[in-house]
Structure formats: C-alpha cells, structure tokens
Point group: C2
Chain length 176, copies 2
C-alpha cells in the first residue's frame, strides 16, 4: 500500500497487530482517527499506555487488578470459604455479571495444554493450593471449559486437592 | 459489565469509540493486550499519539502528510499539469496502488451533501481553484464516487472551472 505519511503507516502497522484487525480495518481505523478530532486518539493512546504500565495481576487470585490485591479479594462482603477456579479474567467478569456467586475467584491463566506447551507450572496452581491452606477454604468450584484441556486441568487440580479434604465441584453444563 | 479494574474499563471504553468496534470486541482487544507483552500496546499507544500530534494536511493538496507539503506534491517526477481530484486520502492511496497515474492530487475532504450539512465551503475547493491558476494546470480529472452527492460536487467544480479553460474529465466507470 502506498502511504503518503510514515506516521499513518506506523499507526496502521501497530493497529493491525491487534487480533482480528487486518490491514484494511487498521487503515480504516487510522483514517477515522485522523479525520476525527484529536481528543479521541489521545484518550485511546493514554488508556493503552495506562494498560501497559499500571495494570497488574492480583497477588492473591491472579485476576486483573489496578492494585496489588484486587477489589474482589479485599471485599469483606464475599465469603472466602468458596473459591471459583476459572481460566481467565474474562470468566470472572462473565460470572460477576450473573450476580449469583458471592465467593471468591482464582484465575489460572489458562488450561494445561501440552500441545501449546502449557504445563501445570505455567498456571497459578501452586498459588491456589497455598491459598486454600491459608484461607481454610471449604469448597472449590471448577468453572473451566469442557474441552479435553479443560477436563485435564480439572482432573489435575482435583487430584492435588484430594489430600486437603476440600470439596471439589464442577459447574453444571448443558450436555450437547 | 463488571470490570475488576478501572484501567481496563477505561481502555475498553476508549477502544469501543472506534468505528466498527463494539464493547465486546473492545474487551477482547484490551484483554489480549493485557495478556500480551507490554511492548505491543506501548507501540500502538505511541503510534496513536504521533497520529494525534504530528500528522497534518498538506498545504497544497490537503492530503494526509507528515510534513507541511506532502511527498507527492514535492516530487519532481510527477507532472503538475494534471490534477486528480478525490474525496479522501484513502482514494489517493487506492489510485497510487494502481501505479498508473503520474500527475498530482487534490483531496477535497468529502463531497457536497446538504443533508449532512457539508457545503462547498467545507471542502478544499477554493484551494483547488487557486492552485489551478498558480500551477498552470491543463487538466482536472474527477475521481469522485458516482453518488448523487458526488455528481453534484463534480457539477459544481466543473462549473467553476468553466471560466478557467482547464479541461475537466471524469474517470471511466462501470455502468451498473
């Protein structure tokens, strides 16, 4: 593509590195931003910079957080006897949106997948075990997707938890 | 949506202000950036900041440019006797990609559209007229979309150019 501007070309290249954004969409976005008032892209740029610099993982549950310990872990309104184990921060949002769960969460950061080179040590399983001991957890609910990798992960964690005496349950699923 | 992080929420809001990006896509993009290494979003953020600060319109042809006068206008390899009039910077790219046109361009910045409140004074028509006089242009090629608004714009500019004696032509179109 013939860009009349190097700055535009760089913006298109940067935007097209996003998932699901091809070169054409990136050009459309960049041209929209150029034609638009400048406030919008300064807002986006500063939001992304903050995202890069200030966002971190909660040291307790590994969820995305602005602070060292996330608001969900700090909340006294939530009972810590029940921990819901999920794959990603997105799952926490989905469950929170239902407004039905009042326990705490633990974000694994993925599932065990030998094909993709993800082993148990790449997930926050050790942290989960430590936490269960420290917080005197009574129940662990596995809210992990019913794929082969997901089932393997559930099995792996369940085996580790067998010794601790904690009740392990899996969320209800629609049988397909 | 229940965001566990204010920073994430701001990023999702900012990204969803882009055309064609809904809240769900914005969340997907933001979470991808969080999970990814931070280099990528710093790159995107700085590219967008540059886009906001440093990009400008070429003072001659109104195309997007990094400098006061764009590379196409400065190029001595292009003959200034022919000016191709287009709606937007995207059209310049499209024509440049064909590698067939060796004249210069003039970007109107839209078409006359009373319904959307765009009158001739909102477009760079005055600048085009001045330029034609100054550069001793021989031919103006209208590469404007064949909509009612486009045809109106072509007619309007053609009438203004009638006095100058410049040849006005319209690019070939496929009859539908």
């Amino acid at each position: 593509m013939n860009f009349s501007s190097k700055i535009l070309e760089e913006a298109v290249l940067a935007l097209s590195s996003l998932p699901g954004v091809g070169k054409k969409s990136a050009l459309r976005l960049a041209l929209h931003l150029v034609q638009d008032n400048t406030e919008k892209h300064i807002k986006i740029a500063s939001a992304l910079q903050k995202l890069a610099k200030d966002i971190r993982k909660c040291t307790v549950c590994c969820n995305i957080s602005d602070t060292e310990t996330c608001a969900l872990c700090l909340s006294s309104a939530r009972h810590s006897q029940v921990i819901c184990v999920v794959e990603s921060a997105r799952d926490v949002m989905a469950i929170e949106d239902t407004n039905q769960f009042k326990g705490k969460y633990h974000v694994l950061g993925g599932v065990i997948s030998p094909l993709e080179g993800v082993g148990p040590s790449d997930l926050s399983i050790d942290l989960l075990l430590e936490r269960i001991k420290k917080e005197a957890t009574e129940e662990v609910i596995m809210a992990i997707s019913p794929t082969i990798e997901g089932e393997t992960t559930i099995y792996y964690i369940s085996r580790l938890l067998r010794e601790t005496g904690v009740k392990v349950s899996v969320i209800a699923r629609v049988q397909s």
